[in-house]
Symmetry: C3
Subunit: 672 residues, 3 copies
């Protein structure tokens, strides 16, 4: 069962923490929310301590007033369980619920999200307050959705305490069907005398003298994701019991450097998929990061729209240097999320805090107040979102899929790989960039996904793949699709065992190649490629076994050997990129691959620097044109189109003008 969010048009708002302010401020909040067009806010996220002053004793008075006030102003509430931050009294009563890190250090409270995910006391306390909230507010007219917890795993994805050890063993018994020999086999414990004779011998991968067992570590990461998921589904079940018709969400963190949770397993458990996304100050093209994360989240949501639950109006406060946004960037960012499938835009946070750890995080209403660029941008964005209300529910249009898999990511980044320079997200992005620049729509898929809708499937990095996933991907090519695979893919199976006989194990036959030895490159090292480009990071001694060399090395120990190959496989084509070409070379290569596969961009004639994304509605398409380059553009669109932000029909010559740094959203009538 999937419940729908009952907010009209596109949702707009942010995290609202009235408990941090005197009540006289609340009235101003209401007035300004209305001014900005806010129609939904998330409340109660960190209110546990105030809501439950002591165990089982609740003080609903403040939250009652907040919800009533919101309702009175026509603003919906995304009501959170405050379970991401248990109060100090809880930890004094249950010190064993504090997490223990890999080094055996028990952390203290006084921040947030510092609890052991496997703690029975925590689980009991979390479900108690979730139940209390469910029972009290299920029928409150302001409440339209449950916001379960907050950013699961942001700080406590792992706990190594004895309680967690017991939970890990329970999880392992489930995974291995209570068969310890199966675990020994999966983990390869004949290596280094690691054989287990008793389940109780199995521990979390705590700090040890030398390199840990990789499968042990991989199963641990799987367990950690599942353990938090079990907390999420438990809260959701309690809430669903109290309020059967209200949808539930939790805010994911599909963004750089967070990789603790396998969201493929999480998304189906939620009614609404929502995401938090923040820019990195050091990323010169964060618009690509927004696009990519948006495509991942849309894919997690099964192609359905999703909500942007948190992003920032300006600088954050948790990076070494926190950059402000430049002119127009707030608008471009928000509308890019919409372009990639968001049906709602929310910020952390409504009003900038004056105290606490996030006092220097930007907000919709900054410290400076309403006489500020940010506030004026926030109000303008509210108007934009109202103008785009009809986009709600429109979906993506991709013919291209990129394989994305947390198991593969975790396994690739375990210690003792050929090269620790090989990072999953860097590889995915290096392949995503040329597609983004070309305006090509992309879905992200699991290795075992239904690929029948795609012309082109890319697997930039798929170190670990199980047999079914590998067969699915190679079968796609065999049946006529175009498959491109990056180096070091197919190397290990689901248990992290190397596939023998030559690399890239699972894909060797489909790619028509066989590598007998890997040649990773040192940081800063490059090798030349035929055609004039260079490659870095990785190389390998590829032998052709049916494939043709497309590009070869012009120097280094592999001079003359293939760097990129192409193989006719079944009725399709399989490409192998055995190295990382420089960006221009990779772009040219992927352009060729894409063109051969017949994949078209979202729109023609879109100049460099302008992002073009299409959402498909029931009756019309919506073409988003976003000028990141700053030069503006004129783009020709379909006849009888309407530019929604300006609210004007497109002239008869079809020319839509995108102002420098600006955005146009064109409703194109569906032909046929």
């Amino acid at each position: 069962m999937s419940r729908e969010l009952n907010v009209p048009g596109l949702a707009y708002g942010g995290d609202y923490n009235p408990e941090q302010w005197p009540e006289e401020v609340w009235a101003e909040d209401m007035r300004l929310m209305v001014e900005a067009g806010v129609n939904m806010v998330s409340v109660n996220i960190f209110s546990w301590a105030l809501l439950e002053p002591s165990e089982g004793v609740y003080d609903y008075s403040r939250l009652d007033r907040v919800l009533d006030m919101l309702y009175a102003h026509g603003i919906a509430a995304d009501l959170a369980t405050p379970t991401a931050a248990p109060p100090a009294w809880f930890f004094r009563a249950h010190p064993e619920a504090l997490p223990v890190d890999r080094d055996g250090r028990r952390l203290s409270y006084g921040s947030r999200q510092t609890f052991c995910p496997s703690s029975p006391a925590y689980r009991e306390a979390a479900l108690r307050i979730a139940r209390a909230l469910g029972e009290r507010y299920a029928d409150h007219p302001a409440v339209v959705m449950w916001h379960v917890h907050n950013e699961y795993g942001c700080h406590n994805a792992e706990c190594y305490c004895d309680t967690s050890a017991e939970a890990f063993r329970t999880w392992l018994r489930g995974r291995y069907d209570n068969d310890l020999a199966a675990l020994n086999d999966a983990w390869g414990t004949t290596f280094w005398s690691q054989w287990y004779y008793d389940w109780d011998e199995v521990l979390p991968p705590r700090a040890t003298g030398a390199v840990p067992n990789p499968t042990h570590r991989l199963d641990w990461r799987r367990f950690c994701s599942d353990e938090l998921l079990s907390l999420c589904t438990a809260e959701r079940a309690v809430l669903a019991e109290a309020a059967p018709t209200l949808p539930a969400t939790t805010n994911f963190m599909v963004m750089y450097n967070f990789d603790a949770l396998d969201y493929w397993r999480w998304a189906p458990e939620l009614d609404v998929v929502s995401n938090d996304h923040y820019l990195r100050s050091t990323d010169p093209e964060s618009e690509i990061d927004i696009a990519m994360s948006g495509d991942v989240v849309r894919s997690l949501a099964g192609g359905r729209p999703w909500l942007l639950m948190e992003h920032s109006t300006g600088a954050v406060n948790w990076q070494p240097v926190n950059r402000a946004k430049t002119a127009g960037e707030l608008r471009r960012n928000a509308l890019a999320h919409v372009a990639h499938g968001a049906d709602g835009i929310a910020y952390f946070q409504w009003r900038a805090a004056k105290a606490g750890a996030e006092q220097w995080h930007s907000a919709m209403l900054p410290h400076a107040g309403t006489d500020s660029v940010i506030w004026r941008d926030v109000v303008a964005l509210g108007a934009d979102l109202r103008a785009l209300a009809e986009v709600r529910g429109a979906v993506g249009t991709a013919e291209t899929a990129i394989v994305w898999d947390w198991d593969a990511r975790w396994a690739l980044e375990l210690p003792s790989q050929p090269s620790e320079e090989v990072r999953y997200l860097d590889l995915i992005r290096s392949w995503y960039e040329p597609l983004w620049r070309a305006g090509v729509a992309v879905d992200f898929v699991r290795p075992d996904a239904d690929l029948s809708a795609y012309r082109l499937v890319l697997a930039p990095s798929l170190y670990l793949v199980d047999d079914a996933g590998a067969a699915n991907l190679t079968g796609f090519a065999e049946r006529g699709g175009t498959l491109a695979v990056g180096f070091h893919s197919g190397a290990v199976d689901a248990n992290c065992h190397v596939r023998l006989g030559g690399y890239p194990g699972a894909f060797r036959e489909a790619l028509g190649v066989r590598t007998d030895e890997l040649f990773p490159l040192l940081p800063g090292e490059t090798v030349g490629l035929t055609g004039g480009g260079t490659a870095s990071l990785w190389s390998e001694r590829v032998g052709l076994a049916g494939a043709a060399a497309v590009t070869s090395y012009t120097d280094g120990p592999l001079t003359g050997l293939p760097a990129v190959t192409r193989h006719d496989h079944g009725t399709g084509t399989a490409w192998y990129l055995a190295t990382l070409p420089d960006p221009a070379t990779l772009t040219a290569l992927l352009d060729r691959v894409r063109e051969e596969a017949g994949v078209r961009p979202a729109a023609d004639g879109v100049p460099h620097g302008v992002e073009a994304v299409r959402r498909r509605g029931t009756d019309a398409d919506y073409l988003f044109l976003i000028d990141h380059g700053g030069a503006g553009a004129e783009v020709v669109v379909a006849a009888d189109s309407v530019e929604l932000l300006g609210g004007k029909p497109v002239p008869s010559n079809g020319l839509v003008s995108v102002p420098p740094g600006g955005v146009a959203v064109v409703r194109e009538p569906r032909v046929g």
Copy 2:
């Protein structure tokens, strides 16, 4: 009551550790001390283990002989309590007195200063041995001063154990008048569910999962400074009881990278302010660091002279690479300290150790013995100091003050700021440098100091300022003074709460500006300034509200907006530096500010590279001319002056010659 140090002229000496050497060496020590002109040494600093072989049992025999021998040679003793290094037997008896770090790791003994500042057992033991020393040596004729402990907080400024937690709560009850709601309000504990319902829930800011509460951290730093101060004053009280007329000191560490203690709170508790200062091998202009630290220490001493208790004749041993001093540097360093107010010069250490952790630290008497450059320099310095005896008691002459505040420093460097690149001391020094190069005398002041003696007050970095401090500074400008404020000042109040309505909060009105958003710059990033300079580190969107733009940005997101402003405030002037200009630009700017304020250098016609500093005695001024540049100089001074180091009257043309790399000290008759 402030007791005077009874040593004639300028004190000269060092740490003397005869217990590390056989007694036959001591006679040589006496002979060489006399040869070098040493007139005071610090003894007993690390002698606890030998002095008290077991609890309450004392062996005074060695110390008796040492003091008698010193007295016999006319050398005064600065007698230390050895409480910086409790013996091994103490920790075996009181393992709970070992400190616990932020990660919960209990440290071991075997080094020094590894004890919990809040330990009752330590306090009892420290006061016991202080009392024993006081009673035995109060009337010893060699003893002229108590040296309480050594470098408080050098290694153990913080302890996170349960005993410390209890002490922290006691301190907090005092600060918040036993009102837990006041603490909750000050710390903003409505944020992240951090509300405390019971004092016992409050802990030190131990390692936790995410960012800590900033006010919690700030109060912790205040507590840690106060907790050590309470040990210092307790020892001092015990000593004063035994020897009511002897002055007491403890050696501060006003130098780079030590910031654990709020010496504004410490200095009034001591009769004599003394300081330890060491050069950083990587600082190409450590003469500026000496000058600045000297000015800070002189200011801590309320303008009275102070003692340089430790510095080095050559290399230290605790930096990655420890540079020797170059020709003449030992002399220039020592006399620069005198120029900035020191009435005594001492070294760590008298005789270079042959064993132990500091065996590679330089000394007055090096491993090589008396046939060494260092020894010859040490002997020559003794003669210099005798020649300068009359300088004793002379004070500074500053018309300019720089605001210096540990609360502001601590708060600025808490986590989760807009930029962690912004470092307090770097900012202070970047503003101090142009003044130093111009030969302008500088005092350092608290924000709430009496400013009536100054023409110019600079606040390079004052992130945190309480209301009274802010009013004092802006009132100074309002009443005709010139005030210059650096970016990100006035941002938060004494509880670290952001001042709302626009930045720079507390100074907005006086500066005639209002900033609505901060734009910190990435490492390596610069923006252009009108006039041709560049700026780095920080920028912000300044709106003019009365002020005039002096310099504006020529590129970047703030092109055309003000970078530096000037505002007529009351009868005075208030400048705002909203960025960090490059050194040349900053120098030109501060030169202009200074000249407009009517601030004059110590002497005219002093070439670049020569430091000019004046001390004002009762009847005469003393002009120190120190050639750091190596080119030497001729400087014109007042008629009837005498150059003290050479002991010769200045010729009638008033020309004093400073030899390359050398020093001249001129006694100028007070006119009128």
Copy 3:
């Protein structure tokens, strides 16, 4: 007693872990070992968990089959005690046997070598299984040697637990003859109040607040080496009891960055010295590292041949980026080890693992199988080694010795030195390189070794040297030898006490110099030298006291003072290098030193890039010519020589051809 290894010719093989594979794979292993010419493998290294499923219960079945199978195929077994990796059941029964690190963190099991070296439970368990293996397999015909443990100290050279503390005290009582005053004197505990009144006060150098006592740390390193050695000799004794005629070895790790064990103390306890050596991916000339480590190992073996117990066919898996070997490198590496004295070549590992922490480590039989470059190289190497069978037993020919001492290394790299940039192995290698390039044979010696066989003795870095060692070295020069000493040598005595009176303490007189102050250079800093070179890292103010300046500084604070000196001492010569000249200058200097000393290279007319090494057999010499440069060479050798790899007599012109990247080994008849 020293027992000989009973394997004909040169040994060839690797670590063999059949327990990681199903038994059907074993038959293929046998077939392929025979194909490759493997004649000895190491088995059982990590088999404890399978061999002893629970305490005292053994399952020999698998090992029986493995040994029988090896014997049936003519392959000898180097049978290991599996004590480097106790099973999980052991640690569950004896959690106190897990090691504690310096920070007090008790490590967990699940990797390898994670046990406390001083644990009685571990010792008992290790000796129990060693005894069981000894008794069962002493007479098995396949077994030719015991492989005691594996890489002692690789991950657990230090344990700081209370049991280790007690063992440390026991060791200290032995070292100091049960005299605590002697320990206090040696450690200099009058410094920082560190005096011990009771043995029980002495602890391992656990994490403490400030710098630790250097002699405490140095004795700790000596203890840690000895403690592991006592485990090794205890196992060896148990094995010798069971099998009196079988030799025993353990694999040393003479390679970069491992310095935990004083192998000078270990080597005499073993019948056969063996070594593990791996290349560093970032070393552009790892052939020099191979040569140097080989010379060290040969010297440890007392000049006798040794075994290369582990190296790699290709990439390892434990460096940040793990480079493959280039064409011919596998062969050059292996034969270079033989050239430097190895009588056997073995790899980690026979068959590349598919699971576990070392799954990406190369092997003789790679993941790709026999259709691979590595396998073909492995087979070819087997043939090479058979062709070189007669080399077995031949020894080195050095006239030059380099002083190598672990005490000196440990002491030099303690904290709080003049410069932490000064690294022992870097200095040794910087001096070794010019000798290697010149084709000069080198032995490594202890400071107190018999030097009568040498013309030239170099001490690149000998910070710590005891009186006897110093006298031995200076006596060598006095009696006509040439001695060259590097800076900061002779500085401290065996207790780490500085030698007073001037540097370089112990060598001052012999070198005819006296330094009064050290001037270490900052990273990146250089000073000019007469003759046009530059120097870095270190300088000092050298005074001549009999010596002549060879090179002087042309800039910096020591301009005009000596950087390199030469002194006629007795009937010999003593050189002092008071800085680190750039490589070309150092090469020219050492060439001069060497030529003056009359030291000749192994062969004349060998071009740059070709390594020439001679082993001396009973009846003939063996000249190894290895082309690392890639240009190949023609070298003239003695008449009547035979090139063994090609199996052909050298033509009458004596010209031997070394193909590009290839190797020639020439049997030269012994003249006379």
